[in-house]
Subunit: 390 residues, 2 copies
Amino acid sequence: MDNTQSIVARIVAGTREIMDAPTGNVPLHIPVFGENAAGYVNECITTGWVSSVGKFVDRFEADLAKFTGAKRAVAMVNGTAALHIALKLCGVEPGDEVLLPSLTFVATANAVSYCHATPHFVEVESRTLGIDAKAIRDYLGEIAEVKNGSCTNRKTGNTIRCLIGMHAFGHPFELESVLELCEDFGLNLVEDAAESIGSYYKQQHTGLFGRVGTLSFNGNKTITTGGGGAIITNDDSLADLAKHLTTTGKKPHPYRYFHDMVAHNYRMPNLNAALGCSQLEDLPAILESKRKIAAGYISTFADNSDFEILAEPENCQSNYWLNALVLSDLNAKHHDAVIQQLNQAGIIVRPIWEPLHTLPMYCDAPKMELGVTMNLANRIINLPSTPRIL
Amino acid sequence: MDNTQSIVARIVAGTREIMDAPTGNVPLHIPVFGENAAGYVNECITTGWVSSVGKFVDRFEADLAKFTGAKRAVAMVNGTAALHIALKLCGVEPGDEVLLPSLTFVATANAVSYCHATPHFVEVESRTLGIDAKAIRDYLGEIAEVKNGSCTNRKTGNTIRCLIGMHAFGHPFELESVLELCEDFGLNLVEDAAESIGSYYKQQHTGLFGRVGTLSFNGNKTITTGGGGAIITNDDSLADLAKHLTTTGKKPHPYRYFHDMVAHNYRMPNLNAALGCSQLEDLPAILESKRKIAAGYISTFADNSDFEILAEPENCQSNYWLNALVLSDLNAKHHDAVIQQLNQAGIIVRPIWEPLHTLPMYCDAPKMELGVTMNLANRIINLPSTPRIL
């Protein structure tokens, strides 16, 4: 038995036991709905309140703010829209540059493109899979200068307006050093918390450390609204502007259609928010189940030199959205084969994203040395992580 | 009794009779759901298929294509997203100009702005409330030149890439003369059919005459998916590109995340499509009811010199999404007062949109003479038009 087969055999056996699935396909991550999901959604249909106004939208925002500890939450059609709005809230303008990891879902970079700004890719660290403040500091020291609190790329002359950090698979990135970096270089921090609802850094919910945080409720996420997203913030004026920007910039009036800025149709419909309200009720049980699954993977695969299971960083609590297996450097060459054979065996797994700086539309974008990113991209496999609540 | 009171009294009495609502508030337009709405939506929850993949999305697209007679329909999160994608399909690039009516919902112009192109406002005709091909032809004769099949604004030097026409309140604009205009000036025609599902020009469904048509399923529309929209087209390659552009540009692969262009997260979730499938089943009954309501308004207010009810243009069949009352020129000064008093009397009405060239973000945009637009904006009132199917 070669090492690929040995690794696959161990993962299949371990996963089937942890996920309590002795036979059949074990999905990567599917939605689970509690007892109120159907009732809330049906109420929208019975009352006719299915669209962008309705009690569930307001309640979802209030419940989400309460759960995360944010002063405000603003619900949107999806996490991509939330990122787009977050960048607008930070004043990103055409021609600006925005720093972001290459190791993230493509939406993070696309949101920058929607602003006609330039994605500028930065390095991550292996410990968290999130942005590496020390490496970025060294890089900015070389290429950037700060004047009047604003950061300029000396090579391009463009303003570097923001840094986006992403809490990969629910593991918080190292916020303390990142916040210091942003302070020193005059950068707004946007936290892409699409994957990290229920994840905490030093007891504070992710998404609330930067200027604005963004969440996703896509169908593959910890909780879902079908399609959905939100921004969270402790700044009332930012939240008000976010709501205005997502509701076509219409000024409140009983019947007049007066809009005062170029804005968007990004509001989450009440039908989707109804599902979201039930999902927020389910969230504590979902998180408990997900942490049990993670503990199962970590203990099952503890005595193992071929790969490790990524554990939550120190001082953090992770939602373990998708458990991440990291092959040892020696086994990186088996990455593709392991993924293929696991899927064939009914254990549905996926690699991490193709690093964004390797995609055709972003391969000419500015970037720092991304050796850790490339190394990790060839070693990570996400394991089945669907919670059980019923 | 002054003329405002007389007009209001007649509209209140007529509307209450037509809408069979002797007391209470008569809403402008609220959704009505047939017997399968709750069942289809519940099926999404039971099966877990709530997000951007699922059988209802595919079925909704197939049913929508069948209903309209389009070769293809591609479902999206809303009509604004559909307009944005339609402009991309027509090759609109930053710096281009796009012709569109000033008398439309703000999303039509915002979609142009999302492309970093310039909205260029053109005139409408009173008969249809839609774009006036003759007036636009005269205007383009003055300011534009056509070379190698491409239209250039001689004043700005920019390419005029597209003309967007909008079928206001479901009344088809004069497509034959508009298509000739587009042919002569090398313009792509985009039909904003947000309001005109079930409306036909010479027996062909609106949205299928131009390069691409866009629909909206917002909560206030003839049928709704909570939030939703679609493009319809007879061009397979455009439909394929639309689907790719709305699903993050991801290349099909069982597990790899490879994206080949800057694209969007605009796909309609299955939860919303489920509602849409039931609404398409209800649509024939809804349209029948709406035409009866329109006939009621037209006959009730036939003998009347103070205002008229807009009837479908010749050779057209209108869905009469929102019935439109047009005050006579002499009564234009009563417009605000009539709207206010009707709303106070429980007859929920609205004016037409503020002409877009008067809004702060578009007041400096290029435009032709818009006398008819301004005249109409001060005379139109939309009347309650909710269909009955149960």
